[in-house]
């Protein structure tokens, strides 16, 4: 235990690997079963049953889907730009997963006298009894979210198909314009917490009220913008099935297709996790259940809301979506920032 590697104890590295594995497996399993949950939930909302044949009530459906997609033929269109075509699914998938690194998903746990914070990019100072995490956590998430756009744009461009191209272009415009409003919505949260560290933001909410109550407008706008950023209904324009025949993924098959699919769901989980952390008090909840339980419960609830929205709403049109982003959300978030500033000035000082 006393051996130090680069100034840190061995236990730190073991805990780090364990945390990465836990978070990765959690996200991966949730991705698999989110597809199942989506089909089941929307199925029941639409008075049908959803998958029923593979396993009890279709519980093995995600595995069957995975196996099927894995054995599908890999098709690369002859006119496609091959390198970009192959790299695009990875570019979409990886940022979706690594955003999870900064999200605190539970209270610090103590194993054999060594305390581990349940947040991948964090360190528990055993002597000072304090958690240190990456101090620009939110910026990191925003950065990773923007990286994901490249996957979509590349896919649309490299497929050399007109539908894909239109999908990719829509996606680029959409993600960029909504990122702005989402970022501005979060600024209001920073102003209250006076920190970009997600650990600090969560701790702040545990001491006072959740930010959803202090910043309801920011919460709503952030959640809607997030839906737009991850291409979920009613903002699923880049893959609008009835217009663009799945848009940027039209030409993809097999595991490359599956990767886009996983990226979409992983993004949904990440976005819900970020919303939970920023607005819903993170992993804090009544103490009779552990912190990670509350975190997972809140994230799943938000995922359920995403699916609920999908079952209810039609799709926006491209220009309406842009108008909503630039002419409604952007001014509203700016106003919110100003209002929050005034509020902080008057009441906190």
């Amino acid at each position: 235990m006393d051996t130090l590697i680069l100034g840190l104890p061995v236990a730190y590295y073991i805990a780090m690997v364990a945390k990465v594995l836990v978070a990765f497996v959690f996200v991966l399993l949730t991705v698999a079963y989110a597809t199942y949950a989506e089909r089941k939930i929307i199925g029941h909302m639409q008075v049908r049953l959803g998958p029923m044949r593979t396993g009890w009530h279709g519980l093995l459906q995600p595995i069957a889907d995975g196996v099927k997609l894995f054995f599908k033929e890999e098709i690369v269109p002859t006119q496609a730009s091959k390198f970009a075509f192959l790299i695009a699914p990875l570019v979409a998938l990886i940022p979706a997963f690594i955003s999870f690194a900064v999200i605190p998903f539970g209270a610090p746990v103590t194993i054999a006298g060594y305390t581990v914070p349940l947040q991948i990019a964090a360190f528990y100072d055993q002597a000072g009894q304090q958690v240190f995490d990456i101090n620009v956590g939110v910026l990191y998430i925003l950065a990773m979210a923007s990286l994901g756009v490249y996957g979509v744009v590349l896919a649309g461009w490299a497929s050399n198909s007109k539908y894909s191209l239109l999908g990719g272009l829509r996606s680029a415009a959409q993600m960029i314009s909504y990122e702005l409003a989402a970022g501005l919505a979060i600024i209001a949260v920073f102003m209250l917490s006076e920190s970009l560290s997600l650990h600090k933001i969560v701790a702040d909410q545990a001491n006072g009220a959740w930010y959803v109550f202090k910043q309801p407008l920011a919460f709503v706008i952030f959640f809607i913008c997030s839906l737009a950023e991850i291409n979920r209904t009613p903002f699923d324009l880049p893959e609008a099935e009835t217009e663009l025949v799945s848009g940027f993924i039209t030409e993809y098959s097999s595991m490359k297709y599956a990767m886009f699919f996983m990226a979409e769901y992983a993004n949904m989980i990440t976005v819900c996790a970020v919303t939970t952390t920023l607005f819903l008090g993170g992993w804090h909840g009544p103490a009779f259940l552990p912190g990670w339980f509350w975190f997972v419960a809140k994230v799943y609830f938000l995922i359920f809301c995403c699916m609920w929205i999908r079952a209810t709403y039609p799709r926006y049109r491209y220009d309406q979506l842009m108008r909503l982003g630039w002419k409604v959300f952007l001014p509203l978030t700016l106003l919110n920032v100003v209002a929050t500033g005034v509020w902080v000035m008057v009441f906190n000082k």
């Binding site: 639409q46 699923d236 009835t242 217009e243 209810t312 039609p314 049109r317």
Partner: protein, 389 residues
């Protein structure tokens, strides 16, 4: 920066072209500059085929045109032939025809609202509407044995009387459907995104609509108060009390409202018709045209020969030509029949409402975006089986 027009080929395999319509769209970004519809992928030569079939044999071809409203196609055809023959249909048969025609209107409009909503992205309405449509399919099966290609009407009346249990099943539809329509309205009419997508979309003025020859709900959505059921009644429609909804703003939303009111009115017509239904014959007393009753075919040699004669040779139809239009769910479905005095139509020309309505697609969608084009296809409510025939 140099810009270029992109030519996009939509269809014939495309989820929103409602079958095998192919649209060659010229795009500036996402804005539509030009639309060229290419049709004919579902051409089966129904008009020509019918020239080689007796009048009874040509009847099943007609319900393969607009397969979403088969009984309306049958209705137009039998009315045209009856007009040529100059025979009267018994009242019970006429009333049942109205009931089936209005059920067909419901059936067709349910598919319309389902696909229109799905095209714009509202999945749930799609499933709900198909659930309700299933009830009507069951009624179809009850009366004719088939769910889609019904072939229930006959020249001179109906192929058979209503089966037991039909009335209670229709009563259930009359009782429950208005509630279902409220559900759709709850999901769509009160939905901001739906309103934004449909209001101001696919505008066509009343003059343009008339110039293009548009008919049906698409015409009424543009504010032209014209409905064949009321203005040129057939099959006893003049006896029913119903409203003809008319739009004001000539856009997709008004056409949507018009069709929804039409569905509610159809339920009312069915209710009235069920109350008018009195026992009686369902086939005209015209032995040279109508098949004899089955008991006589099976039990007497005269009946058997009578049946055989009509089935093998058909029946002669006096020389002449007629035009009969009916208010199909999609618009005016017209049959122009020419007879040379033989037992086969000399010429059967169909005026398909979808084909004529499709002509206005460029007018309605030019200058808007691809997403609007999809909405316009949905609001025109086209069926390719009818366009190509």
């Amino acid at each position: 920066m140099a810009s270029e027009i992109m030519t996009l080929n939509m269809g014939p395999q495309h989820p929103s072209t409602h079958g095998v319509l192919r649209l060659v769209v010229e795009l500036d970004g996402e804005v539509i500059q030009k639309i060229t519809p290419h049709i004919g992928y579902l051409h089966r030569g129904i008009e020509k085929l019918s020239e080689h079939r007796t009048y009874h044999q040509a009847l099943p071809l007609t319900d393969r045109m607009d397969y979403l409203a088969p009984m309306h196609n049958n209705l137009g055809y039998v009315l045209a032939v009856e007009k040529l023959l100059g025979i009267e249909v018994p009242e019970r048969a006429e009333t049942i025809r109205v009931i089936m025609a209005e059920l067909t209107r419901l059936k067709s409009h349910l598919v319309w609202i389902a696909c229109h909503a799905l095209d714009i992205g509202a999945m749930t309405v799609f499933i709900y509407a198909f659930r309700e449509r299933e009830k009507i399919m069951e009624l179809y099966e009850m009366v004719s044995g088939a769910r889609m290609t019904s072939n229930y009407f006959r020249v001179g009346g109906l192929s058979r009387d209503l089966p037991a249990g039909f009335e209670s099943a229709v009563q259930e539809i009359v009782d429950t459907f208005p509630g279902h329509f409220d559900t759709y309205e709850g999901l769509l009419t009160k939905n901001t995104i739906w309103l934004q997508r449909t209001i101001g979309n696919g505008v066509i003025s009343a003059e343009d609509a008339i110039d293009f020859g548009i008919s049906g709900p698409a015409l009424r959505g543009s504010g032209v108060d014209f409905d064949l059921r009321r203005d040129l009644p057939y099959s006893g429609y003049e006896k029913y009390d119903f409203k003809v909804p008319v739009g004001e703003n000539c856009d997709t939303f008004d056409r949507y409202k018009v069709r929804l009111v039409e569905m509610r009115e159809a339920v009312k017509i069915i209710d009235q018709a069920m109350k008018r239904l009195k026992p009686g014959p369902v086939l005209a007393d015209a032995p040279q045209v109508c098949y004899p009753p089955k008991e006589s075919v099976y039990n007497s040699i005269e009946g058997l020969i009578h049946h055989f004669k009509i089935a093998s040779e058909g029946f002669p139809v006096p020389e002449g030509e007629v035009y009969q239009g009916v208010e199909n769910p999609k618009g005016e479905l017209g049959y122009y029949m020419v007879s040379d005095g033989g037992s086969k139509p000399y010429r059967m020309r169909v005026r398909p409402p979808s084909f004529v309505n499709l002509g206005a697609i460029e007018k309605m969608a030019k200058g808007s975006m691809i997403a609007d084009l999809v909405a316009v296809i949905g609001t025109l409510d086209i069926v390719l089986g009818e366009i190509d025939r």
